[in-house]
Symmetry: C2
Subunit: 318 residues, 2 copies
DNA sequence: TAAAAATACTCCATAGGTATTTTAT
DNA sequence: ATAAAATACCTATGGAGTATTTTTA
């Protein structure tokens, strides 16, 4: 009959290690908080199931056999690893600790994360943040399939079964080629876009959909079907505008103070009703650590840069 | 209430790992040879005792949480180490496998081991032989205190509670300075030692005691109290004889074929009754792997060099 | 509605305890 | 003679089973 390792117990391993350390059944038992007969029986059972002698005993001496020493060594490894499991679990209870996979849409990530991550790391050093920059369409997939724990994206969330907490509203800015007619005004209004050729991002970016709906409302041209007028990234979009191919709308965080000098473009804010997007932190309704996400949302609201207006409404909805 | 890692079971860890692999309670249960409710209950108990969610489940999807993934990783380590314990134990059953701490007296070790160890390693590759060269007095101590598993020494064994198996008889040879009077004969007899100054080893070597008793019997001089005439090693003894300080008795294996040329000494065998020593393999009566030692003794008898007469009597005695 | 996980319950194997005996120095 | 390990015996916990219900895609 082969050895059935299934039958051994973590307690037995503890006893074996203790006896190897103490070389005395009574003391070993005490160190394990059990009685001597209990420990004796456990050691004996262990030796019987493995059909091996770990200890030579007399009433005066307990000695570890060489094979016993090797087994004790492995037993220590077992116990160390189980202790680490305990540590992991214990840490799991503290808020915002342990691994957290956070998605951010690419039209926000590069501009928000520099403000967010350093204070987050400082405030929650045990948080093991794994960031993924993914388009909204991919993000909701990954959220739903438990590949992400939470994500930062813009309303509306194109998925069901999600909870979310509002973060801030990010206004859009008008960005046209240098010397554009609208540059003469200090601010523009949505209606001014009428007749403009507005360049858009590729499919899958929520920013595209948001800009598109504004354009449709006010009657701007979008050349939707011609891929020459679509950009795969906001950086490309900037260059296209700088090259005079048209205008566009950019979210406020993505526009730097020296944008006009850097990209040879004209940047103008909108007057009310200001177009923009409402960012939220979203996660599966069923996520086991939803409190963590509420906490994270609160933290993001507090640390978002001033250009965006933090939403004071903390409700979690949908 | 803190986490009680004591309450987790190896079985639970197996289930956790299986579920993480299979992502399906039914299949995971089957792979563990238990029913689905059993596995469900175990996972739940595990999560409850650690107060952590390892898996997000719905009737369609099972997903591992990030913390769960870390815990699964440690659980794998635990199970790997337990498996290794099983392997160690399994190997422990095969004869002459695993660690074996063997003591050899210094007046034999260097001359026997070159004959013994290579074939032993070949015949029993799983044997992890640890050799210690120790004087008889130390060896019996270490045998008694389970610091050695077995030892090769000469009869009589100065300790109780030992079992032994005879190995071979090793004759003593007369060794005197070059040009010694006894060199004129092809062989000598014990009585020829009368009046000789015989050099001895230090205390603790059994060879000393054996030579001494012969000297006392035949009336040889031993200058017992003068440490100038005692050697700490057989190598020193050779040099002292070569330097003309006296004669000595050396065990046959310690004398090489070119001894006379190499050490400027005269070597002569004894005629019957030939003095010598009876070597045995000894171990604690209580040693759990006595069969291994009997096997080892048999092996040594078979592989001892021809100069010694292997004892055919295999009895284990005392 | 069908597959899958969770619940309800029953049972028995065993880990742990107390009291005592055996053993070896 | 005495300290220490082994044995005998008892109890209760909980791990594993079968049968069934609940859930959700």
């Amino acid at each position: 009959m082969p050895i059935d390792i299934t039958a051994v117990t973590l307690a037995e391993l503890r006893y074996v290690v203790a006896l190897s350390d103490q070389r005395h059944f009574g003391r070993a038992a005490k160190s394990c908080r059990v009685t001597q007969p209990t420990l004796s029986a456990a050691i004996k059972k262990f030796e019987t199931t493995l059909r091996v002698t770990l200890f030579e005993r007399s009433s005066k001496h307990v000695a570890v056999t060489p094979l016993g020493a090797q087994i004790v060594e492995e037993a220590r490894r077992v116990l160390d690893a189980t202790d680490r499991i305990g540590d992991l679990a214990a840490r799991g209870h503290r808020p915002l600790s342990g691994p957290l996979r956070l998605g951010v849409i690419p039209t926000l990530g590069p501009y928000l994360l520099p403000w967010l991550v350093p204070p987050l790391r400082e405030a929650y050093p045990d948080l093991q943040l794994v960031l993924r920059e993914v388009k909204t369409s991919v993000m909701v997939e990954e959220l739903a399939h438990s590949q992400l724990d939470a994500g930062i994206l813009a309303l509306p969330i194109p998925a069901r079964g999600m909870s979310s907490s509002p973060l801030f509203e990010e206004p859009f800015l008008f960005v046209g080629p240098s010397g554009h007619a609208l540059g003469k005004k200090t601010s523009v209004k949505e209606g001014d876009l009428e007749g403009e050729r507005v360049l858009l991002l590729d499919e899958g970016h929520c920013l595209r959909d948001q800009a598109l709906s504004i354009c449709n409302k006010v009657g701007a041209t979008t050349d939707d079907r011609e891929s020459d007028f679509r950009a795969t990234s906001m950086e490309t979009l900037r260059h296209m505008v700088g090259a005079g191919m048209g205008s566009t709308l950019l979210p406020a965080l993505a526009v730097s103070d020296d944008e006009e000098a850097r990209s040879h473009v004209t940047v103008r804010p909108f007057v009310a009703p200001q177009p923009g997007r409402r960012m939220v932190l979203a996660w599966r309704k069923t996520h086991p650590r939803a409190e963590d996400h509420a906490l994270l949302a609160e933290f993001i609201r507090k640390h978002a840069p001033d250009v965006v207006k933090s939403t004071r409404n903390h409700a979690t909805k949908k």
